[in-house]
């Protein structure tokens, strides 16, 4: 009699436990489905954005924009130099310069000393070595 009682109690407990597990599994499935839907949606959004980016960055558009807004030209031969062609700065002066500017404290650059940036004229960048290996196949 006691054994039956205990067994039935155990069964009831198991049933209750099973029920709890099942409901929690169900709610996790729901969560999973929701996340999957979300991922799907995000993927779709990414696709749309990627396509939009590709459309906006297509070469002929960039070409049109650049020829209208920037005075850029194909890099000519005389603008490309091997790294060795650039003379090194005299070795000692580098450390001295740095030491000097460091010692002068934070308020070195006063308004009068600040480089004047012309507001309207276009500053032409100086010819400088172009990294030839970066991005090259």
């Amino acid at each position: 009699m006691r054994i039956i009682l205990i067994a039935s109690l155990l069964i009831a407990l198991c049933g209750g436990g099973l029920y709890l597990v099942k409901t929690s599994v169900d709610s996790r499935y729901d969560e999973l489905a929701r996340l999957k839907r979300e991922i799907q949606l995000e993927k779709k959004n990414t696709l749309v954005l990627e396509a939009e980016w590709a459309y906006l960055s297509r070469p002929d558009r960039i070409q049109t924009l650049s020829s209208g807004l920037l005075a850029m030209q194909p890099i000519t031969k005389d603008r490309i130099l091997p790294l060795q062609a650039i003379p090194m700065r005299p070795g000692t002066s580098i450390s001295k310069d740095e030491g000097a500017s460091g010692g002068d404290g934070p308020n070195v650059l006063e308004a009068s000393q600040q480089p004047k940036v012309p507001s309207l004229s276009v500053t032409v960048p100086k010819a400088r070595p172009v990294a030839l290996t970066g991005g090259a196949r």
Partner: protein, 574 residues
């Protein structure tokens, strides 16, 4: 039994509840029944409750599952260029459709939908809605805002359902290569058809094409077509070291997003599907074969004063020379007579064998359906062999010509061209056709075509990049034989000439002489400048450095002792 009650009283109250002492037999029977009834009732309640709950859950979850539709089958894969830039993508769109049987008032529906559908008037829609069917498609691509507005109208019988469409964000760039898909999303041309299986599985296909180079090549060919009032053009850039096609253009072209608005002519991929008599650029192959077989030596001289007469044909030179030319001069001055004499020494059998090894006698093997079958002469006798030596009588596609010339002008290996990016660790199959010495001689001569003042390709000289090349001007075949006025001009260039890495091919169809070109519409005027401008713009992108004047490596890789017009040749003219 006096001990019993004492025992009961001894036990603690809580323990007696869980583990009661044995009662009197008469009483215990009653208690047992009561307990049994209680236990049975409780068990029934529990199991009944759980069972009911389980049943309800099972039924309910069946329903719940039906809400989670299985996700749609794999979307068609992307096509990207070698740097991962998007060339073709599949986008979700909304399709607006209606069921005419469910409409209450078709006239009103048509009127209210008309302002929301861009390319149909109210009458068009009304006509569509009057059809005796259950499905009428009104618009394939509606924007989210339109979608919301249509939902706001709340028209019964009008539906919006999700679908997808193939999008080519780069428009006309690389249109022929990419091809197109039909309404069911199945590839019908280009890579879309050639790689349909992989794309249908949702895989991303990475091409060997570089979108930047593609844009440069297309723009330059297109501008030259305009300048010379030509009717068409084609071109490609080939990586000679591994056979990857970096750019491939055919003009006129079309927008694959609006395939139906294009003409058949625009949809034709001339670079891969068109076969042409390549003209003088075949002299590169002829020279290479002659040197390789030992039919001629580099210092041999051939008399080109007299035209060759063979049956009813006469082989003449565009610029006749009244003297003997050496092998380099024959290529630099593009002498048909000299080339024909060389072919005579090679012999038709050997020539055919080499053309076969260079894959010029069977269709190319690109990953697109548009692979042209070359036009090979039925009877490869002496006449055929003489004309083929200067590029007539054998019609091949530009892709085939480029791959063959890459073997002669590069390192002597034939490498099958491809449109799919090769992985760096995959072994490269290449077959040696020409010896390194032959290749060295050929690239030296090609450099002189561009660098020497009397060469035909001077306009291809992109200073610093050592372009080597060869012009080709072929008369087009019209109704009766060749048409002297209608030419197809081409140029094949390689750079840097001392160790060729990239090959550029450009072809323009029927250019007309212009004032600025003094009436000329030859390859030297029309196509050589294309190669120059492409090299100037592409070299920095490809990481090719400008070469120092007469650097040691250049001396090592080009022949020093070539004599042109009685003087030792100079490869660089900075």
């Amino acid at each position: 039994m006096p001990r019993q009650p004492a025992n009961i009283s001894k036990r603690p109250w809580l323990l007696s509840l869980i583990w009661p002492a044995r009662p009197e037999p008469a009483k215990s029977w009653k208690i047992a029944r009561g307990r049994l009834a209680f236990a049975a009732f409780f068990a029934c309640l529990c199991f009944g409750g759980i069972g009911a709950q389980a049943l309800q859950l099972a039924v309910f979850s069946e329903n719940a599952k039906s809400y989670q539709k299985p996700q749609s089958v794999a979307e068609r894969g992307l096509i990207v260029d070698r740097r991962g830039r998007l060339l073709a993508s599949t986008l979700p769109v909304m399709v607006l459709h209606a069921d005419p049987k469910q409409l209450l008032n078709p006239r009103r529906v048509a009127n209210s939908l008309a302002p929301l559908i861009s390319d149909k008037s109210a009458d068009d829609i009304y006509k569509l809605l009057g059809k005796n069917t259950r499905y009428v498609e009104l618009d394939r691509k509606i924007t989210p805002r339109r979608h919301a507005e249509i939902l706001q109208l709340g028209l019964p019988g009008v539906f919006v359902s999700p679908s997808s469409t193939r999008l080519y964000p780069q428009g006309q760039e690389a249109a022929h290569l990419l091809g197109a898909v039909d309404v069911d999303g199945k590839g019908i041309a280009g890579i879309e058809a050639g790689m349909n299986d992989a794309l249908a599985r949702g895989e991303t296909v990475q091409l060997s094409i570089d979108l930047g180079l593609q844009a440069i090549l297309r723009r330059e060919i297109s501008s030259q077509i305009e300048r010379f009032e030509a009717i068409a053009g084609a071109g490609l850039i080939l990586d000679m070291k591994n056979g990857e096609i970096l750019a491939m253009a055919s003009l006129p072209d079309f927008d694959p997003n609006h395939l139906m608005r294009s003409t058949d002519k625009a949809r034709f991929n001339q670079a891969a599907k068109g076969v042409f008599e390549m003209g003088s650029i075949f002299k590169i192959l002829n020279t290479a074969i002659a040197l390789e077989t030992g039919a001629v030596q580099i210092k041999d001289r051939i008399d080109v004063a007299k035209p060759i007469r063979i049956s009813r044909f006469a082989i003449r030179d565009y610029h006749p020379f009244k003297r003997a030319l050496n092998i380099s001069e024959i290529l630099v001055h593009s002498s048909n007579i000299g080339s024909a004499h060389m072919a005579d020494k090679i012999g038709p059998q050997t020539q055919r064998a080499f053309m076969d090894k260079l894959q010029l006698l069977q269709p190319s093997n690109l990953e697109i359906p548009e692979n042209a079958r070359p036009l090979v002469p039925q009877n490869w006798g002496r006449i055929a062999s003489l004309t083929i030596s200067f590029g007539h009588g054998l019609s091949v596609s530009p892709v085939q010509a480029a791959a063959a010339i890459s073997a002669a002008a590069g390192d002597g290996f034939y490498i099958e061209p491809t449109l799919i990016k090769r992985s760096t660790d995959a072994p490269l199959t290449r077959s040696r056709i020409f010896s390194p010495e032959t290749a060295r001689a050929v690239r030296s001569m090609m450099r002189l075509v561009v660098a020497h003042p009397s060469g035909t390709g001077n306009f291809a000289e992109a200073k610093g990049y050592l372009v080597g090349g060869k012009t080709g001007t072929a008369e087009k075949i019209k109704a009766k034989g060749y048409d002297r006025k209608a030419n197809r001009v081409s140029f094949v260039g390689t750079f840097p000439a001392h160790d060729p890495r990239y090959l550029i091919f450009a072809m323009v169809d029927e250019p007309k002489g212009q004032k600025f070109s003094y009436g000329y519409a030859t390859a030297g005027w029309v196509t050589a400048p294309i190669v120059k401008r492409v090299v100037e713009q592409a070299a920095p992108l490809l990481g090719v450095h400008p070469i120092a004047e007469m650097s040691p490596e250049m001396r090592l890789n080009l022949l020093p002792e070539v004599i042109i017009d009685g003087e030792e040749a100079v490869y660089a003219s900075f």
